[in-house]
């Protein structure tokens, strides 16, 4: 039992219980959670019924901030789609993020992602995804700084 004085530099302090459980890689969920409690805001339908049981889009996962817009072809051929897929194409006449689609249509984020992925595949939507590594791109960071500095 060592006493900890503020002027010691104890890197592992007893006050942060999770501090030392690192396995070296980024990532574990912050704390234990008793498995999936579904989001009560979603519809009464089991969420992944809407996606035929698929839980992810076919290619790499779409980021929740990816920007989505309906293509002219998608808007011209709304009849090809039913229910949520159609709603997404209609909604995305105004560009928005995947997360925003989920909120506005009361869809599970994962479900919105799968459906958007499908609609991208069929050419009804187009997307702008965050470039990989852009969050470490100095020019982009500088522009964000300037943009924020302009806020009054």
């Amino acid at each position: 039992m060592d006493t900890h004085r503020p002027d010691d530099p104890p890197r592992v302090s007893p006050v942060r219980p999770f501090l030392d459980d690192g396995d070296g890689e980024g990532g574990g969920a912050p704390a234990g959670m008793p498995g999936g409690v579904p989001d009560p805001a979603a519809s009464r339908v089991r969420p992944y019924m809407l996606t035929g049981g698929r839980t992810g889009p076919d290619e790499t996962e779409l980021e929740i901030e990816a920007q989505v817009v309906s293509t002219p072809a998608g808007l011209a051929a709304l009849d090809r789609h039913l229910y949520e897929a159609r709603d997404i194409v209609v909604l995305c006449a105004t560009p928005m993020a995947v997360a925003e689609i989920a909120v506005r249509l009361h869809l599970h984020l994962g479900v919105a992602r799968v459906l958007v992925g499908d609609l991208l595949g069929s050419g009804d939507l187009s997307v702008r995804r965050p470039g990989s590594g852009q969050h470490r791109n100095a020019q982009i960071l500088e522009r964000v700084i300037r943009g924020l500095e302009a806020i009054r």
Binding site: P6, P10, R11, V12, S13, V15, R16, F18, L19, D21, G22, E25, G26, G27, G28, A29, P30, A31, G32, M33, P34, G36, D39, P40, A41, E63, I64, E65, A66, Q67, V69, P95, A97, A99, E100, V103, R104, L109, S126, V127, R128, R129, P130, G131, Q134, H135, R136, N137, A138, I140, L141, R143, V144, I145, R146, G147, L148, E149, I151, R152
Partner: protein, 199 residues
């Protein structure tokens, strides 16, 4: 068909903005939603549900908070940075049982603001642990509820045991400019890491 500067005469579809994102994290009831709402140029989108009796047992806002609803999914807002970049701010879900969303929220993020209420310091430990492990730049932002701090900042730093290079700032989640300044500290940290890594 090369790149002529097509001007406003054509009903040109504007190119989609490049999305960038910052995570707003911290314990339950520390002011994450207030922060997202306070800086967002559009009404922040929140799926905020009244706490159920069951969740009430789990979520224990405690006496420290007068909060009666809790964010069960995620909340976010955005700031248009310029004609090409759009900044998104995503608040982490308030409860541990939504921890599975953290990876989605943090993947590709510029960094995170970890909001701290000095009356309940331990609430932010999971977030601090997570970002340290994920090596994501983060700033600890102590929310001055009612303009007061109940602990000295040095004590907060010591109790959190964050690395010396992790900035610790105070801010007021109800003030737009105060949120802006906290975010700027984070962005400068992220920029500094980038240029250090490059040079």
């Amino acid at each position: 068909m090369d790149s002529k500067p097509s001007d406003s005469t054509a009903p040109e579809r504007r190119p989609l903005p490049l999305p960038v994102k910052i995570v707003i994290a911290g314990g339950f009831g520390v002011g994450k939603t207030t922060t997202v709402t306070g800086i967002s140029e559009t009404p922040a989108l929140t799926t905020d549900e009244p706490m159920t009796a069951i969740a009430g047992g789990l979520d224990r806002p405690g006496e420290a908070s007068g909060k009666t609803t809790t964010t069960v999914a995620l909340d976010f807002g955005c700031v248009t940075i310029d004609d090409e970049i759009k900044l998104y701010l995503f608040g982490t879900p308030g409860q541990d049982r939504f921890g599975f969303m953290w990876r989605d929220l943090t993947e590709g993020a510029i960094g995170a603001l970890v909001i701290v209420d000095t009356r309940r310091l331990d609430d932010c430990y999971p977030a601090v642990d997570y970002f340290e492990q994920a090596k994501l730049p983060f700033v600890v932002a102590v929310n001055k509820f009612d303009g007061q701090l109940s602990h000295d900042l040095d004590d907060v730093r010591w109790a959190l045991a964050v690395r010396p290079e992790t900035p610790l700032v105070t801010f007021d989640a109800r003030e737009r400019t105060s949120i802006r300044d906290a975010l700027l500290v984070l962005l400068r940290l992220a920029l500094q890491r980038t240029t250090t890594a490059a040079g």
